[in-house]
Symmetry: C2
Subunit: 398 residues, 2 copies
């Protein structure tokens, strides 16, 4: 295996030019720059000996021409608006470097992971989980433009949507930037991902009685904002007892009505969510949330109603693939790696429905992502590629 | 003293026609209907033997022509938009009934208590607390129209603004609807007001670090929303220990930034206020608030900054005037009256700066006010007038 790190870094620098925005990139899915980068990638795949195709939803799949067992490797190539040069692209270019090094790897850029048009349209299409009606209905999240129109202008209308061949892959790898500060803070250079956390998101609606603050005694009040505050404070006390060591939970949104200084809030709406890698932990956290709301309703004058508004299941990484990556990391950067969950979502969680998956993280400088200042040290990028290649080699040999 | 209750109720019914809106009234200050009601009032004052003038800010003042000691009595005649028929008007028409009954009363409709154009412009002008620059700058709070333009169209431009004659008054009475449910709930028909509460309003700003919920561990977070919740929960625990029996305190407004489900709030802004009749109690509550914020800053990662954004002092009612009203109430509706603070603001708190004041409340059906369904039983309106007149008589004789 001869890994061309210089070519890998040159590829990253090359793609950074397409849609350059300050020191980052603006390359939303199906825009001119995005399509240019997809065509560049297909040509680079062919040059690396792969059989490349761009499919009807924009997936770029380069198939290894030799015998198996095969691996799948990749990530996404489009960016968030005015965002960074590494988010997604890193995993695609690293996969290409693996193929160039002679590993039996199919390389894929899964279309629209960033969700400009939908929810994992590319990777879900590859596993057969997107029907035509969903594409008919899809609109751009920023300007409402129909997806079909964008596909037509991108020259993708009428193309077949590819499906991953059942049984072809021993597993799928994805190298990605961390998009957090855990590696940097711990002085680590590599993160072996234990899995992609699941998310459960909830709406809590508290109903009280809107009144003027001057004329309503404390004993008469039904203050929905105050009940919401007490409920959230109770949740803040209870949740650490139910959560796991890497769980996160967040109240991102509170809306009082009418939200005026001298009016007692008649209604409060809270958006609360939690994430963990373990279904068991998530069930415990959900139980804690339900009991806390129930207790609020036992104590308070203003009833609280709890509703789920979107759940995704956790996607654990494959133990054998993780072991291969751990061994590779210990070989190439001893004691400078750690295991960690991915708090963000990735295409690998879609692929996990049909094959074993594993992910590898490199540090994000200052944890910054989804912003044009996103960056990672070049030596960390190169190390990420090397650990990925060595991990893939070990896994294939296992 | 011969009190014409029938004429008093007829006057209320008459004014209800001007700007009628469903069962209520829409008569914003300086609109055509408002000016019509001011001219009607001036004529009614003259008919009652008073010397009536409408001044340069719309105050309608009817002076008693006989010797003193004099009383001042009145309230406001304009309404909130699409609001009730009694808020303000009751006190003006009752004062007129007192004058008709031969009491030495100057009757006044203080302009714009409802604040369509400013902050107690009429009563403050009468005590010399409004300069021309304030009128130049004043704009309609709904549509931004200059006050000067409205005064011109109302025919008031160039008129002198009247000043209350120093030393002329033994005290000022104001009869008003309660605008709350305390009398109704207690089965009482008359409220003798102990004073108009003071208000201290505050902005609490909590600064944290905006981050994505997925990539930031609980230990790393600086969640401004969570600090705000804990601070408000602490305040909810501490404030009852500092407050008086009739104090109220309210968080009317909470704004998180960016207030998005999957983003850790980087900033939280709270509007908190409290009201009480006692300066000593208000100082204790302020001390409690300051200590709670200080304690939050000792414990939390996200600093909280406390800023005052508007204080009004409490205005206690005059003890001798209160005693006269209590005696009148006990005479006319024994055991069906109570003492209570006014949680809402009234012109009397402005007049209190230059003379003794007292207020009397009649029950509001369902506590409703600032809405066209506002109402009070006719027998309670009549009783309110009788207690006011008897109280005024007793106070004059004291």
């Amino acid at each position: 295996m001869s890994l061309d790190t210089a070519q890998f870094l040159a590829d990253l620098d090359r793609l950074r030019q397409t849609g350059a925005y300050r020191t980052g990139v603006h390359r939303p899915t199906f825009g001119a720059e995005d399509m240019e980068s997809r065509h560049w990638l297909a040509a680079a795949m062919e040059a690396a000996g792969l059989e490349a195709r761009i499919d009807g939803i924009g997936n770029v799949l380069g198939r290894h021409r030799g015998p198996g067992p095969h691996l799948l490797a990749g990530s996404h190539i489009e960016t968030q608006n005015q965002a960074g040069w590494l988010d997604g692209v890193l995993g695609v270019v690293a996969a290409l470097a693996l193929a160039r090094a002679g590993l039996p790897v199919d390389v894929c850029a899964y279309a629209d992971e960033e969700g400009h048009w939908g929810d994992f349209l590319g990777s879900r299409s590859l596993i057969g989980a997107v029907d035509e009606a969903e594409l008919d209905a899809a609109r751009n999240r920023h300007d409402g433009r129909p997806l079909r129109e964008a596909l037509r202008e991108a020259g993708l209308a009428g193309r077949e949507r590819l499906r991953l061949e059942p049984g072809r892959y021993k597993g799928a790898f994805e190298l990605h930037i961390e998009q957090g500060t855990q590696l940097e803070r711990a002085g680590m250079r590599i993160g072996v991902v234990t899995g992609i956390v699941g998310i459960r998101q909830w709406r809590i609606t508290v109903t009280g009685q809107q009144d003027h603050t001057g004329g309503t005694t404390m004993a008469e009040r039904r203050d929905a904002g105050l009940t919401a505050v007490r409920l959230l404070a109770a949740l803040d006390q209870a949740m650490p007892m139910a959560a796991g060591p890497r769980s996160v939970w967040t109240t991102g949104r509170i809306v009082l009505e009418p939200n005026a200084p001298q009016i007692i809030p008649g209604r409060a709406e809270i958006t609360f969510s939690f994430r963990d890698l373990s279904l068991e932990v998530m069930d415990r956290m959900e139980d804690c949330l339900r009991r806390t709301v129930q207790e609020s309703n036992r104590r308070e004058r203003c009833p609280a109603v709890l509703e789920p508004i979107g759940h995704t299941a956790p996607s654990p990484c494959d133990p054998t693939m993780r072991a291969a990556l751990r061994e590779a990391a210990e070989q190439l950067c001893p004691r400078a790696w750690t295991e960690m969950p991915s708090g963000a979502i990735h295409d690998s969680q879609i692929l996990a429905r049909v094959m074993p998956v594993a992910m590898l993280f490199v540090p994000s400088i200052g944890g910054i992502s989804h912003h044009w200042t996103e960056d990672t040290k070049r030596e960390d990028l190169a190390l990420g590629l090397k650990v990925l290649a060595e991990g893939a080699r070990r896994f294939l040999a296992s």
